[in-house]
Symmetry: none
DNA sequence: GAGGGCGTAGTACCCGGGTATTACGGTGGC
DNA sequence: GCCACCGTAATACCCGGGTACTACGCCCTC
């Protein structure tokens, strides 16, 4: 039987979680907390297996509450939930020692599976965030196999021609197609052709994503 | 409709996967491959959305096949499956560019959810491995919580409300208005209102310039 | 000299982004 | 109690961005 503490300032949200968890015969909700400090206090008192922790709460927020619970040496695991998968929240939460990070609009089964996983010592991270974590850190993982390509330049830009790289650079400066055409003495239609090719080659859906890529690859420096 | 290629040397295993996937009305199995080189060749030919890749296969193994598929520049995502969650496999697979790593004894729903996640560009890692990844790397994550850091930041962002800063952040992630609306549970018209206010307050002419500002002010980190 | 990659350019079309305006409920200050 | 601000939302409208397709001249390589 997995014991759970729900920490969320919204009564309806707590109710929803409680209904879901109580419908499972291997879980029970010990109690609820309406803010971070209450969560810390009740955890120290009741030692739940898992704390479902909201990030945004009045007073002590979920991140700081997590940090204190972990620091207490208690064996309680913290699973952070947020409506919003903003990186800073997640990074901060995981740094604080949380065993997981899920978004609230996940499927109920995902949440239940997440609780079971963290209760046994495993960890879970929402897929949307996992992607960003991997993008940022995959190349820092210990190498199990040889054959590392230490990318000369970024592979995502490899297939661009010189001219296309130039176009992408000025896109990164926020120029519109019209401005690019004027300043590079081109027809706007030509600019559009270049832009389309840049998007296709870099796998960018639109201009914004291409600009982000330009920054990420340091083609344009902040 | 998500198109999938199954790469596994065991016929029974392939059959099981095919049965499961074909039972879903949003997935279809394009074809099967019995080893790594076949997987690479068929992927180049058919461009599936997702490759379900076994690690252990005769000839070219799943890791090396993954590396070649990613290196090809194809937009196909690779989801690695293995019987054991041995770290070396996982690290190597993720380094090779895989979008996910799951163990074969996962629940069918987990596998399906994983396929759907990677097909949309997200990523998934088995909980047992996530734990080890976090233990090893959590303290390397970028620091900072949004809660306590009320940005002594850039004056150009000073007049933005909390919500508007959030909107700008996700704009910086390349989300379209439609995506912002969906993921933040807002109406698109509301998103447009927010975006317009952000542009007005930051003096940005359009979305692209706002994103550049987000990078310049480190609101979004490269 | 045939072919291929590249840079240039045009046209037609669609859609998402952005503006302008209005509105309404909640909250906090005075 | 009133007002200001915020977050939410809708509507109508315009225009720039992006796609698809076609085309042509230049240069290089086989």
């Amino acid at each position: 039987m997995t014991t759970v503490l729900i920490a969320d300032d919204q009564p309806l949200q707590r109710l929803g979680f409680r209904m879901l968890l109580e419908s499972q015969d291997d879980m029970t909700v010990l109690t609820e907390a309406v803010n971070g400090s209450e969560a810390v206090r009740l955890t120290a008192e009741l030692h739940p297996d898992v704390v479902l922790m909201d990030v945004r709460m009045p007073g002590l927020d979920g991140i700081e509450a997590t940090r204190r619970i972990i620091a207490s040496g208690d064996r309680t695991r913290v699973l952070i939930l947020t409506t919003f998968d903003l990186d800073e929240y997640a990074y901060a939460g995981l740094r604080a020692g949380a065993s997981g990070f899920l978004v609230k609009d996940a499927q109920p089964e995902e949440l239940l599976a997440g609780i079971r996983a963290v209760s046994t010592g495993d960890a879970v991270v929402a897929p949307s965030l996992t992607r960003r974590l991997l993008d940022a850190y995959a190349h820092h993982l210990p190498s199990g196999t040889p054959a590392d390509a230490p990318e000369a330049a970024d592979p995502r830009l490899a297939s661009l021609t010189e001219r296309e790289r130039e176009i992408l650079t000025v896109m990164g400066m926020g120029w519109t197609n019209t401005e690019i055409a004027e300043r590079l003495h081109l027809a706007e239609s030509t600019v559009k052709t270049h832009v389309s090719r840049v998007l296709a080659k870099t796998g960018s859906r639109d201009r914004v994503q291409a600009v982000i890529l330009a920054y990420d690859t340091k083609l344009v420096k902040p």
